[in-house]
């Protein structure tokens, strides 16, 4: 009789075939149109910043894995997402050596020391961004004028500033809609905001592309749509209330929604699966907290933008949300069991 070798496995013997790697790859695909718009709007300097953060994030993760004698984890694509996201929330003429530092902090302090993918408490890209905000406050708030005529062949000299040198401001710098409103009370047309005819970080102005990418990810069930929706609703309601109370001091809710890094942050950063709550009920609360914090920081803070701090704070409380808000287990009464 023919000899048969049987393989033994425990059930289930079939799996859905989804994979973490596929999710990560699709997040990158969803980000690329907005990143490409950033390069179109800000030119070759923006491209250099994006390449620097992405490549260095991957290289640094590979290096850290090697020196700690672990198998390299770059093939899961999460380091590339972190690098790309960090680049997208930096100004287009940001010095490359600073961008590299940002990547190092993102991967090293934001992700690796927590144990790598799956264990980070905060969105790693925002950890790097927060470090850069604290360390290099001037370059990170200097905005290169969008759609400059020579943007495709002229590299801003600040981009190529030598390491440990502060850049000299060169070319035309302009205000972002948020800073224009905050400091000069200049309003921006909603059409310009939505279409990205404005200054800002590399990846935050292509609003249409950010939303389309988000819809794609939500459709593929690779993004929890409840998080951005919850943020948008809360932001709209709270900034709307402020606008109704005083429509000269405070911007309109539509302006608040479409300006700054809100789209990029709400759709791609707040939704970092690892740093957001796991239950559907939890993410509504999480999104609402981000929305409220964004509005408060933007309206009353010293900085024009508040998305980064709002998300980082909400990341910190996300484990507690999971602890407090739990779906009722089948056949039990709704008794909260904290652990």
């Amino acid at each position: 009789m023919r000899k048969i070798t049987l393989h033994i496995a425990t059930s289930p013997h079939v799996v859905k075939g989804a994979s973490t790697e596929t999710i990560m790859k699709n997040v990158i695909y969803a980000l690329l149109p907005a990143a490409a718009f950033g390069v179109y709007a800000f030119g070759i300097s923006a491209l250099l910043v994006l390449l620097t953060t992405t490549i260095s994030a991957v290289a640094i993760e590979h290096f850290l894995c090697k020196i700690s004698k672990k198998e390299s984890t770059v093939s899961d694509y999460s380091a590339a997402i972190t690098g790309l996201l960090l680049g997208m929330c930096l100004p287009p003429d940001f010095p490359l050596w600073m961008a590299f530092m940002g990547s190092a902090i993102s991967i090293g302090l934001g992700k690796f020391i927590f144990g790598g993918l799956g264990y980070n408490v905060f969105n790693p890209a925002l950890v790097g961004r927060a470090f850069l905000q604290a360390t290099f406050p001037v370059p990170i708030t200097t905005w290169y004028q969008a759609f400059g005529p020579d943007r495709f062949y002229h590299i801003s000299s600040s981009v190529l500033a030598l390491p440990f040198m502060q850049p000299a401001v060169d070319g035309v710098s302009g205000a972002t809609p948020l800073s224009a409103f905050k400091f000069d009370h200049v309003d921006t047309q909603t059409y310009d905001l939505a279409m990205g005819f404005i200054n800002g970080s590399i990846g935050e102005t292509g609003t249409v592309f950010l939303i389309l990418g988000g819809i794609y990810l939500a459709w593929r069930k690779m993004l929890n749509w409840r998080i951005p929706v919850s943020i948008f609703i809360t932001v709209f309601v709270f900034s709307g209330a402020a606008y109704l109370i005083n429509n000269t001091a405070y911007p309109s809710p539509v302006f608040t929604l479409f300006s700054g890094g809100l789209m990029l942050g709400a759709i791609y950063m707040a939704t970092d699966m690892v740093a957001s709550p796991i239950t559907s009920m939890g993410v509504w609360v999480y999104g609402a907290i981000i929305g409220i914090l964004v509005v408060m920081i933007r309206l009353w803070g010293g900085l024009p933008e508040g998305v980064m701090y709002a998300i980082l704070l909400a990341n910190a409380i996300s484990p507690h949300i999971d602890n407090l808000i739990r779906p009722r287990v089948y056949g039990t009464t709704n008794k909260l069991k904290l652990s």
Partner: protein, 452 residues
């Protein structure tokens, strides 16, 4: 109200694995030939093994009792064939353990008439007589669990049974035995329901059927007799709806309390094939000798639904239906909860609902396990709203006490939906099985220490 009702017509969460039922659902049940040698293990049910009452060399008739029930939670085993008891020895089982069993050699030219026992008359029998009859016929849950049916049907003192739910869900992919039974054995099912309603005192019967078996629902509706209060309820297709608790929620909107039984919400559930078996066997006092099994899977040459004698060696079955050269895995049961076979010398038992054979290219690939990224897919899949992500992390740290006390581990009935959806390929349900076993062992060790 209409939309509200639709929404309520199922349980929360769950998954939709590819059904793969179209290959066999249209194929009528066919009688399987007798194997020259049948191997009959004495433990084909949950509970204590049956006690052998025949001796080596003895000639037995088909339907004759080979072994009697050894306790209340036990059932007798009837001879599936007329033949000679060749040997009483240890025989292999699917778990890998060897247990006591009988090797029967079938008479080659026998007419295979079935010996009958004491009939149970529906009109005169009391509830206890019916339950005793069900035990004497060797009936166990044919859905796969093989729990003695008479034990399950016994309504405890102080409780009442209001609803009898007949489980025609069959949510496991590939399997179509219940589907065929509903299409071909409607009379037996309704007769079985009469016995069951009398045994449990149920006031109303509901047959729950998933929407992918609409033809079976229509068929039963057409043949529904007027003398018993039966309704047929079609529910949306979703795994694991065939689980007792999920079915009760889908059909009645009630939840069985954690750690409780369906009777706590005045319900008794019985598998539809078991019901048909009761309806067919009890009027004649016959024992179970064969059962309907779906044989399917990509590596099977002649898939179908077969009526196979209990004790038929798996090797004989596979030779008869034909398998491809590169088979890799064989399962008994469905692909979601079935058990891998390590040895083709084991035999068909009363609890075998399906035999699936997968080739090398069909089995799930050894995927790289990534860390949990808290995507929440498992949380959205778990039919009882556990947090498999958190439980998986705790299992790695062997925090079994916390898993049980804070995260309701013991409510998990191991449907495997979490492992099915996990994009990081974390073997979640596998962790939970192990954690439950280890928790129980730790607990009993602690108790022994305290008693010492």
């Amino acid at each position: 109200m209409g939309i509200f009702k639709l929404y309520k017509n199922t349980f929360k969460n769950g998954i939709h694995p590819p059904e793969n039922k179209d290959i066999t659902q249209g194929l009528p049940i066919r009688q399987f030939p007798f194997s020259p040698i049948l191997i009959i293990p004495m433990s084909q049910h949950i509970g204590s093994p049956a006690e052998i009452i025949v001796r080596e060399g003895q000639e037995v008739e088909r339907g004759q009792i080979l072994a009697k029930a050894s306790s209340y939670v036990s059932v007798p085993i009837h001879s599936p064939v007329s033949g000679t008891v060749r040997k009483i020895s240890m025989v292999p089982t699917i778990s890998g353990n060897k247990i006591e069993g009988i090797q029967l050699e079938a008479f080659p030219y026998s007419g295979q008439e079935v010996a009958e026992g004491k009939p149970i008359r529906l009109e005169t029998a009391t509830s206890d007589e019916i339950l005793k009859g069900i035990q004497d016929c060797g009936i166990v849950g044919l859905g796969g669990a093989a729990f003695p049916t008479h034990v399950k049907l016994k309504v405890p003192e102080g409780k009442t049974c209001e609803y009898l739910i007949i489980n025609g869900i069959e949510c496991e992919p590939y399997l179509t035995t219940d589907h065929r039974v509903m299409l071909e054995q409607a009379e037996d099912i309704f007769m079985g329901i009469r016995y069951l309603m009398k045994a449990t005192g149920a006031i109303q019967t509901v047959i729950g059927i998933e929407a992918n078996k609409q033809d079976a629902a229509d068929h039963l509706n057409k043949l529904k007799p007027n003398d018993i209060p039966v309704t047929i309820q079609v529910v949306p297709v979703k795994y694991p709806q065939g689980s007792e608790k999920m079915l009760i929620t889908a059909v009645l909107g009630k939840e069985v309390p954690s750690g409780g039984l369906p009777i706590d919400v005045n319900v008794v559930t019985v598998n539809v094939a078991t019901t048909a078996e009761i309806g067919r066997l009890l009027p004649h006092g016959r024992g179970i000798q064969e059962r309907v099994i779906t044989i399917a899977g990509p590596a099977i040459k002649k898939p179908g639904n077969y009526l196979i004698p209990v004790g038929t060696p798996l090797r004989f079955v596979l030779d008869y239906v034909g398998i491809q050269d590169d088979i890799a895995e064989v399962y008994m049961g469905g692909p979601m909860m079935g058990v891998s076979v390590s040895n083709l010398d084991i035999s068909i038992t009363k609890g075998t609902s399906g035999i699936l054979v997968f080739g090398n290219n069909d089995v799930k690939k050894e995927e790289k396990v990534y860390p949990c990224i808290k995507c929440g897919a498992c949380v959205d899949a778990c039919p009882i709203s556990l947090n498999p992500s958190k439980l998986g992390i705790l299992a790695k740290f062997e925090s079994y006490d916390r898993m049980v006390e804070n995260f309701n581990l013991m409510d998990c009935f191991e449907c495997g939906s979490c492992s099915y959806v996990c994009p990081s390929h974390i073997p979640l349900v596998q962790y939970f099985r192990l954690s439950k076993a280890r928790y129980k062992r730790r607990k009993s060790l602690k108790q022994n220490l305290n008693n010492a």
